[in-house]
Symmetry: C2
């Protein structure tokens, strides 16, 4: 019941914090969400911890990103962005090196810890939780498979794009997650040399140079 | 201080329960362990819950199987047994159908819920936990890769066996775990038709019939 003036600083300070979280809050939330999902997986990650990491009110996380699966989708989209360039890689080059370019590019992402760790976190969440699997599936289908399929000139281009991706996912799993030897320590070029013709066959049809010395 | 006779039934009854868990305890423990690991994953599974499921003392679980990673290894070995027949499948048939036989056999295991669910539980544990990954890796390397490699007549037979397996693991992941369409609903024979030549190339060298109509 005192003069309004006395409450002004309080009034000015709090709504900013509550309503927008201050400058950069939206990005801080996304960064905190990526860290939380990477560390604890989809199941155990909490909106509360994400808010704490971003130094905002939990309600603001919901305000900007919606429920948990939506903020997970935003985090995955950011972490998965390097892999989405695969479709551009296919567009730049000869038709008979499609398999080699896709294989070298994709396995290269898994070779680098900075791009591997976020991918690994997504795969862990998707393997453990059906909601996370759905989010990941929708991203992969809409933004990666569809764009790779557009580059193919064979029947069932989406099925073929997915089978090529399946091979590369499997190599990454056995090399970097389960770590079976000798695959885990094999020279990358040796692996590319064996895998690329298989991927080429999926993307472009029968092996174009079967008489070439076998790698 | 009463006559020994009075204590006899008690003495006869309890040690049996405490020392051996009664007839079939060893198998009951293994069955309970498989159920516990499948339901809760390696991380959350507890020896206490396994003992409860088998109706024995927790100490008996340790007595028969040792620490958690050892009982996990025993559970995995049992659940993975159907997949270990892959090496026998390779031995029975023509050299130029190696890829087709391995592909149809392995994807067939993933097609059947009764054999798929235990495998899926192993993969989930191995992806989430390093100890579980180590146990799984040792089993796969010693009992599957080594035996498949014995059937191959190319340089780097183990690397090739693992790359063939990687393709099939990737197909199973995208078809049955992430469930991307159209792969998740595609006819199995259509999938085998595209994947088998790639697996054949890994196991036996360049495509033996590149002029055959493309599947």
């Amino acid at each position: 019941m005192t003069a309004p003036a006395a409450g002004a600083p309080k009034k000015r300070g709090r709504p900013v914090r509550k309503d927008t979280g201050g400058p950069g809050a939206r990005e801080r939330i996304l960064t905190a969400a990526r860290a939380e999902f990477a560390e604890r997986g989809y199941d155990k990650a909490s909106i509360r911890a994400i808010a704490r990491g971003a130094d905002v009110d939990p309600a603001l996380v919901h305000h900007y990103y919606g429920p948990k699966e939506k903020i997970f989708a935003a985090a995955v989209e950011t972490d998965f962005a390097p892999a989405l360039e695969a479709a551009d890689i296919l567009r730049k080059g000869e038709h008979d090196t499609l398999g080699e370019r896709l294989t070298r590019f994709t396995l290269g992402i898994w070779e680098n810890p900075a791009t591997r760790e976020p991918l690994l976190a997504i795969v862990r969440s998707a393997v453990a939780n059906d909601t996370a699997a759905t989010v990941f599936r929708e991203l992969v289908t809409a933004q990666l498979v569809a764009r790779i399929a557009d580059e193919l000139e064979l029947p069932d281009p989406r099925l073929r794009a997915e089978l090529a991706a399946a091979h590369l996912v499997g190599v990454a799993m056995l090399r970097h997650v389960i770590k079976v030897e000798p695959l885990a320590s094999a020279d990358l070029e040796r692996v590319v040399g064996i895998v690329a013709p298989a991927v080429q066959r999926h993307l472009a049809g029968a092996d174009p140079s079967p008489t070439r010395p076998f790698p």
